[in-house]
């Protein structure tokens, strides 16, 4: 059997108002790729942050090579041979690859203990070659692609002689070829006897590369087992807790006329020839690997990055529209719930009321003068509809849970009474109960005649909610499937670029 090099016993992590991890067990063994699976908000990232010393557990123990340990800082975890590769590259963009790898532990040499650039460069080169990467060690990181940056992070982990390598959603933002390269590297590391923890909520990753899996749900340990021989449905059941049909009560909604038509939308280097029609009452799902270009299409539709002339047409209710800013999009009845709640969706330093009224603040005013009564009324109406749990509308959004913050974002956009609602991973990082409510709500909105564009990387969500699914792959539309045609397998194949 493989050696257990790291064990988490009954790890618990509490935050004010929420228990992120509830007595979770997790074992990491040498020479094994262990997939840590769970939906968004299941607690995977929190567990990893504890293992890497960024957070401390509220209770429970960590056992490293048979000894009980405490990682009080990232440095302590690193010293124990644990290296984590994060989703957002924590790199120094202006500095070279070599320097990114060695920052914090530069090699010194010679009598004067000056930096030994030659050694660092040589070692970096050899590390890069070991992984068959064609990257020049002197390149500045900001000149690398996202995939290449990921690779550099892996090299960084190796330079630290890490024995345990943790990868958090590493296939996000990677093209098909790059994903295969990554798998190859992981297999190589495994052959070298390293322990690899692979966080994902994508089945394709798990089945391709993982040996063992552990499922978390709502912060709790649900189960584990060998990947080989385990049915995908069984895993889904563990992840989701109930059957797909139960989770997403799909209402039958009459589908009306076309409100939004996209014709050959293109942006150089990002997406090409994206065309689709969106109708009243319809939920159009956008599926694909992260980085396929879905969010970028939405951003173009919302005017955040204007489309170049000649790069496609947008038609709203039959008439051609030039959307050059979010304000213009809003005026045309489009609402956009962005993916990054904290950075793009809500202004966490302001009150709930100020957030909810912001897109409508001009309409609520009397000739530019704020009207507190109307603002209060609006906030009560939509904050109430979304069932935002807070002690008062004056509370700052920063004090709310993730689910409630998302409700504030939804409330604020619904208050603009849009005809087209675009949502980008709306239930990411939200607990399951709230998630279900949000889904119910989306269905209800569709029944009220809204046209909904739903970007999601979660198969159950897409399969459960969408009337039709548009799959994007590397910037192009790989497939457009009706609800009847859409199966998990077809969607995944399309997303990976496999035809038929």
């Amino acid at each position: 059997m493989y050696d257990c090099v790291l064990e988490c016993r009954k790890i618990r992590k509490d935050f004010p108002g929420i228990t992120a991890l509830d007595e979770v067990d997790f074992q990491v063994r040498t020479g094994e790729v262990h997939a840590l699976i769970g939906e968004n908000g299941a607690g995977k990232s929190t567990l990893v942050k504890i293992i890497t010393g960024i957070l401390q557990p509220s209770s429970g123990t960590l056992v490293h090579r048979g000894r009980i340990v405490e990682f009080r800082s990232p440095l302590a975890s690193q010293a124990a041979g644990i290296a984590a590769i994060h989703q957002e590259a924590s790199m120094f963009p202006e500095l070279s690859v070599t320097e990114n790898i060695y920052m914090g532990h530069h090699l010194t040499g010679g009598a004067a203990r000056f930096l030994d650039w030659r050694s660092m460069r040589t070692r970096t080169r050899s590390l890069l070659e070991r992984l068959e990467l064609e990257i020049d060690p002197d390149t500045a990181v900001r000149d690398l692609s996202v995939a290449q940056r990921h690779m550099v992070e892996i090299v960084k982990a190796l330079s630290l002689d890490a024995q345990i390598v943790i990868m958090d959603e590493p296939t996000s933002a990677l093209s098909l070829r790059e994903v295969q390269d990554l798998y190859k590297i992981i297999r190589q590391l495994r052959a070298e006897g390293k322990a690899i923890v692979f966080i994902s909520h994508k089945f394709e990753d798990i089945y391709e590369i993982a040996d063992h899996f552990t499922v978390l749900r709502d912060g709790r340990y649900v189960g584990e087992g060998p990947v080989a021989g385990t049915d995908i449905d069984a895993i889904i059941q563990m992840m989701v807790g109930r059957s797909l049909k139960q989770m997403f009560p799909k209402m039958q909604v009459p589908i009306g006329e076309t409100v939004l038509e996209a014709v050959k939308l293109s942006r150089a280097g990002v997406f090409r020839d994206v065309s689709f029609k969106l109708r009243r009452g319809e939920i159009l799902g956008f599926f694909g690997l992260v980085g396929a270009g879905r969010s970028e299409v939405l951003r173009a539709l919302f005017g955040i990055e204007r489309l170049e002339p000649g790069c496609g047409t947008i038609r709203i209710k039959g008439r051609e529209a030039r959307i050059a800013s979010p304000a213009q999009a809003k005026a045309r009845g489009i609402a956009y719930i962005p993916e990054d709640r904290q950075l793009q969706g809500a202004i966490v330093g302001m009150s709930i009321r100020d957030n909810v009224t912001l897109p409508m603040v001009d309409q609520l005013s009397s000739a530019g003068i704020l009207n507190p009564r109307r603002e209060q009324a609006l906030t009560e109406e939509y904050g109430g509809k979304m069932e935002v749990k807070a002690s008062g509308w004056e509370q700052p959004v920063s004090s709310l849970s993730g689910g409630n913050q998302q409700k504030v974002v939804l409330a604020k956009w619904l208050a603009t009474r849009p005809e087209i609602l675009m949502m980008d991973e709306p239930t990411k990082g939200i607990d399951v109960a709230t998630k279900a409510r949000v889904h119910e709500f989306i269905s209800q909105l569709a029944s009220e005649g809204l046209a909904i564009l739903l970007v999601s990387s979660e198969l159950p969500e897409i399969l459960g909610m969408a009337d039709s699914v548009l799959v994007m792959q590397e910037g192009r539309v790989a497939a457009t499937l009706s609800r009847a045609e859409a199966t998990a397998e077809r969607l995944i194949r399309a997303a990976l670029g496999e035809t038929a």
Binding site: F15, P16, G349, G368, P396, S398
Partner: protein
């Protein structure tokens, strides 16, 4: 920055109260109240030291010394609330004064001079705003450059000379009083504009959007706030008010030298930051800035009465600035401690 899921976060919402209100303690530790207390202390100490301090005539007259700075502090509040900074305001004042002087030497009348002063300020502010917004350059970099450019033009044209001929009616703006009273025109103008800015910031949609931009410009943009347009507008406003301040200052001094208002940008920024406006943006209000203006103004007046030299006054102002930043931090921590104690006691 705001900590998610932390009810103890005291980062206040614009116009709203943060979670975990403490009632009286909350009110007492608000920055504006502390400033007011310091202000009263300054008044009390100055009055006890010098019998001249509480003379109404003297008080009114001393406002002449800082009304121009006060006028510029108003738009700078908006600039800093947005998360930007404008170091070029004094340079704009110099440029504006230069053009007024040149026009006056060419025979222009008072009304024309005012127009030129304002227009110069507006144009300069527009240049700043354009470079900052169009090229996405940090405002500190642009305004450090433009500050040198604007004042540099004044030096290049005048060298060590000066414009000293201004039409007599022009002097009223900076030196005149309202009717027969002891109330200076500058003071009244400031009060009116302070009210306007106060209403603008706290009672209009414009102000709400300013706070949104300062707290999170990305999310504000995603919410349909015209971030680029507003920032440009605010820099134009900053320029315009600098032009106005220059009109008043030039009128008061009666001449234009290239070193007019030299170093004023620092004192103005100090005033605004002391007034409780966070340098990172998104937090602060007009009331604090107004109190701060008068606090510094009267502090300098008091020090002047006991013959403290100007440079030494700056030492005091410098320390005041540093303490202003330190205090909210420690005050915030104090509140947190009380909050925690109360929560433990209440078993929350």
């Amino acid at each position: 920055m705001a900590e998610p899921n932390n009810p103890l976060s005291t980062r206040g919402a614009a116009g709203g109260r943060p979670a975990g209100s403490l009632g009286v303690l909350d009110a007492l530790t608000k920055w504006e109240v502390i400033l007011l207390l310091i202000f009263l202390v300054v008044i009390a100490v100055s009055a006890s030291i010098s019998p001249y301090f509480l003379d109404l005539f003297n008080i009114m007259n001393t406002t002449f010394n800082f009304m121009e700075k006060a006028l510029v502090a108003l738009p700078i509040t908006l600039v800093i609330l947005c998360g930007d900074i404008d170091i070029s305001v004094a340079g704009i004042m110099a440029l504006s004064s230069l053009l007024m002087g040149a026009a006056s030497a060419a025979g222009a009348g008072s009304a024309m001079l005012v127009l030129i002063g304002l227009a110069t300020g507006l144009a300069a502010g527009f240049l700043n705003g354009f470079l900052i917004v169009r090229f996405s350059i940090p405002s500190i970099a642009v305004t450090i450059g433009s500050m040198s450019l604007f004042r540099g033009i004044a030096y290049a044209v005048l060298g060590d000379k000066a414009y000293t001929r201004y039409p007599r009616p022009f002097a009223y703006l900076g030196q005149g009083y309202i009717g027969d009273s002891a109330v200076p025109f500058e003071l009244v103008l400031f009060v009116v504009l302070a009210v306007v800015f106060g209403l603008l910031l706290h009672r209009t949609t414009f102000g709400r959007k300013v706070y949104a931009i300062g707290n999170n410009a990305t999310a504000a943009r995603f919410s349909g706030v015209p971030v680029h347009g507003m920032r440009l507008l605010i820099f134009c406003l900053s320029g315009l008010m600098s032009g106005l301040a220059s009109v008043l200052l030039t009128s008061r001094i009666g001449s234009t030298r290239p070193n007019i208002a030299e170093g004023w940008e620092l004192e103005i920024i100090t005033t605004v930051v002391l007034g409780g406006v966070a340098i990172s943006g998104g937090q602060g209000n007009i009331l604090g800035v107004i109190i701060s203006i008068f606090l510094i103004g009267f502090l300098k007046f008091g020090m002047g009465l006991i013959n403290v030299p100007g440079v030494v006054m700056n030492i005091v102002i410098g320390f005041l600035l540093i303490i202003a930043i330190l205090l909210p931090g420690s005050v915030g921590r104090l509140r947190n401690r009380f909050l925690l104690r109360r929560q433990l006691r209440d078993g929350v």
